[in-house]
Structure formats: C-alpha cells, structure tokens
C-alpha cells in the first residue's frame, strides 16, 4: 500500500502557524515523523484560503524546498492551482513527486495534466468534472476516461496516474461507501495499468470511533484493488489495518511486513 501522509495541510490548526511563520524546524520535524511512521509520500498543502495566489506560490515553493533539502521522501504537491503546483515542482528539482490533483474539468486538464507530463510526476486524477461529483460509478469512470485521454495526449503514462473514485461521508448517505468501492472495481477493470487512491478519512466524517470505520473501509478498498491512501500514518489502527489487509490479499510476500510488525 502506498501511504500518502496527510498531515502537512495548512487547514489544520497545528500546521497553519508553521506555514505562516515559516517554521523550518517544525516543518522538517513533522515530515521526518511521517516518513519514520511509514509514509511513502508526504502530501503538502499550504493553502490557508487567506493569502493571495502569489502568497500560495511562495509558501509552496518554501515548503517543498525546505522538506526536499532535509527529508528523503517523495512529495505530493497538493493544490488546485496550476501555478502553485508548478512552483512546488520546480522547488522539487526533479526528485520524485506527485501532483494532487486534477479533475476532468477543462481548465485542469489544460493546465495540470501537461505539468505531470513535463515534470514526469505521478498524478492524482479525481473522478469528477465541471458538474461536480457524479452519483453513479459509470459517470465517475467516464470522468476518469476523459482524464486518461488527456494523459495520453500529454505523455503521462497510465502507471503514473492515481485515479481517485472519491469518498464522501457515509453518515449522510449510507450507500456512499459502496458507491466508492464499486467505482474502484470499475476503474481497476478499465485502466489495468493505472493506480487508485482514496482520501480515506472522509468516509467517517461526523461519526464516532472514526479510526475503526476508516480501517474497515480501507480493507474493503484493498480487496477492491486500492493501491494508495491519503491517510494518517501515525494512526496505529490504520497502519495495523494495512499490515493485516496486505497479508490477507497476497500483497505481503513471505509475510515480512506483517511478522515484522507483530512478531
């Protein structure tokens, strides 16, 4: 399982001051903590919703450069703005990166997909378009198909694409989880070389004991073919769910990861 650590997000009250005050030491400390906990990528989202576009460009450049200089781990550059993403990619200086994310929306397809081709990065592709989040798996896959067409046009190989079937809180619609899972299965079937990713914790929004729900959902998604999750690698319940899930779906050769964790 590819684990994309979600903590470095400026909408979090503990991270916001780190970005605003340019606390290099704190940022590096957090990144190291996530890397040590088992993150494969670290997601970096510096958008506080307050600053100007130029502020965000500067913040992203600073955050990516700061982490890249001190922590050897691939980074996931998280923004909806192509200019902010490109600032992060430049600061990354050709080290492994992922763009989070594009939608099947004209503006995104034209500006963000080419960046993934030009910088040879992975790309998170959300199964949604101009009209929002589709309500059926078929429509979500159609959005993925549109992104796939643009990826072909801009030389982004399918193995670099992480399709996100989208996860909505189950609390307001008890069928949401199944909708995501069914979409996941269809994506894996249609785009065999592509990878899949979900933002895990959305599912449990508004309910108690969220880690338990997240862990259960994660394992169901693993069975459906999930390759990556944007999640909290510091959460023990989730990391255990990954180790046990991988062991049971044949993704842990010789049970090395499982036995190392629990022996």
């Amino acid at each position: 399982m590819i684990i994309i650590g979600e903590q470095i997000n400026a909408t979090r009250s503990d991270v916001k001051p780190i970005i605003e005050n340019r606390r290099e030491d704190k940022l590096i400390e957090l990144a190291q903590k996530l890397a040590k906990a088992g993150a494969t990528y670290i997601d970096v989202n510096i958008g506080t919703g307050k600053g100007t576009r130029n502020d965000e460009v500067d913040d992203m450049r600073w955050a990516i450069k700061t982490i890249s200089d001190k922590v050897d781990i691939p980074l996931c550059i998280d923004s909806a703005d192509a200019a902010v993403i490109e600032a992060g990619l430049e600061a990354r200086e050709n080290k492994p990166a992922m763009i989070n994310s594009t939608k099947a929306e004209k503006k995104h397809l034209e500006c963000i997909v080419p960046l993934a081709g030009r910088y040879n990065t992975s790309l998170v592709a959300l199964a949604m378009d101009e009209s929002g989040i589709p309500k059926t798996p078929e429509e979500r896959v159609a959005a993925c198909r549109k992104i796939a067409d643009w990826c072909a046009k801009y030389d982004v190989p399918m193995e670099n694409v992480f399709f996100d079937p989208l996860v909505l809180p189950v609390v307001t619609d008890r069928m949401q989880c199944l909708l995501t899972l069914n979409t996941l299965v269809m994506i894996k079937k249609e785009f065999a070389e592509a990878k899949t990713v979900i933002g895990l914790s959305n599912v449990s929004f508004g309910l108690p004991a969220r880690a338990m729900l997240n862990a259960a959902f994660l394992q169901m998604a693993m069975y459906a073919g999930l390759d990556a999750a944007i999640m909290d690698p510091l959460n023990k319940t989730l990391m255990q769910a990954i180790r046990t899930g991988e062991a049971l779906v044949g993704k842990d050769r010789h049970f090395r990861k499982y036995t190392r964790k629990f022996r």
């Binding site: 050769r253 010789h254 049970f255 090395r256 990861k257 036995t259 190392r260 022996r263």
Partner: protein
C-alpha cells in the same frame, strides 16, 4: 567478489529468505541488494563448483533456519522463504549437478492418506525435502493406499512420506504399509510418517520406519539414516 565472499553472501541470503533482489529479508533494509537468484547466477558464471555451492550455501543455511524455527525465532513464512531460496538455487544448479554426475539423494513420494484433506504440513515437508536435495513427487491429499503403492513402485522411490491429521485417517497408514508388504516392495522403500495424531509409538506399531515431528525433524532423521 571472490569465491568465499560470494558463498558467504549466498548462505546469508538463504537464511534471510531472499529469493530475488526486490525481496525483503528477515532483517530490515536488504531489499534491492542481490539475493540468492542473482548471486547464484553469478556463482555459476564464475564456475564455482556446484557441489560446493550446495553444501556450503544451502545445507548449512537450512540447518541454521531449522534451529531458528525450533527456537521460535523464525515463523512458518520465514522458513518457507528460506526453502524457496533453496528451490531457486537448485533450479539454477540442477543442470550443472546433473552434468557433474551428482545425483539427487533419492526419490521421495509424499501423500496425505485416503479420507484426509490436510496438506499444509505435507507441503512444507515437500519444500524442505527439495531443499535438502531429494527429488519429490507429491501425490496430493486423499490418496488411496493402492495408488500410493502403485506410484512408489512405478517411480522406484526409495522414500515414502505419509501424512494424516485425523485419528480416523491415521489408520490408513497401516493399510499402506501392509499393501507395500503384499506387493513385495516394503524392503525397497523407507516409510516416514507424520501428522498431529501420529507418534513414534504409532510408527513402530504399524511398521513404519520413522515418525517425524515436523519438516526439519524429517530432514534430520534422513540425515541420521546416512542419506
């Protein structure tokens, strides 16, 4: 790498249970480094004596693995990973050993007896025996006494391993031994038995040659038989 370094490195990787370079080992942080397959191919390229490679890289390492398993340091998947390494090494060395006129330690028929569907233990025994240099013919589970005897004769097998995990099916083993006698080939084959309900006493009672507690014990017993 000189010959001795290469041999030590292969032996180490057998113990670590790393078949190919991308494999993790028992210890952390080994992935990416050449493993048994890559190293053994290099050894063959360097023309290191095949028999020496078997003895110094495989046999001793598996003894070490057996010890670790007995002590509870290694678990079943660790042991299987090492056995898989031996299998991979033997695939590479096989043609060379044959060319050098080095024969297998013998043909070994394995079966779970009639009425019994358990085969995990038997399969582990099979892997370990291959690793120890035997030619293994696995007949599967729920195998009738007649079929076992027929295959033993047809293949000129020197060894027969019988498994049963139920008190109701362990009696089948006795039938197999009797059938071997009736066919007049009992003295041509050594019969080893194993499985949870069986014991040393039971082996003696039904006229088998040995009872094996587990896969390592089986290999150990065969060694003591001077094979």
């Amino acid at each position: 790498m000189n010959e001795q370094e290469l041999i030590e490195k292969i032996a180490y990787n057998v113990i670590q249970g790393r078949v190919v370079a991308e494999d993790e080992g028992f210890n952390e942080g080994l992935e990416g480094q050449p493993a048994v397959t890559e190293l053994m191919e290099q050894a063959v390229e360097q023309n290191i004596d095949a028999k020496k490679l078997v003895v110094e890289c495989l046999t001793g390492s598996m003894e070490d693995v057996g010890e670790k398993y007995d002590k509870g340091i290694y678990l079943i998947p660790d042991m299987l990973a090492s056995a898989e390494c031996v299998g991979a090494a033997m695939d590479i060395l096989g043609p060379r050993l044959a060319k050098a006129g080095i024969e297998s330690k013998g043909r070994f028929i394995l079966a779970t007896v009639a009425g019994d569907l358990h085969d995990i233990g038997k399969n582990i025994v099979g892997i370990m025996l291959k690793g120890a240099g035997f030619e293994v013919i696995d007949l599967g589970n729920d195998v009738s006494a007649d079929h076992i005897v027929e295959e033993t004769r047809k293949n000129n097998a020197q060894f027969l391993g019988l498994s049963a995990l139920l008190t109701t099916t362990m009696r089948e083993m006795e039938k197999v031994v009797k059938a071997l006698q009736n066919e007049g080939i009992r003295d041509k084959v050594r019969v080893l038995i194993g499985g949870a309900p069986t014991s040393d006493k039971f082996a003696k009672q039904i006229g088998a040659d040995a009872y094996c507690r587990d896969a390592f014990h089986a290999v150990d017993i065969l060694r003591k038989m001077n094979i």
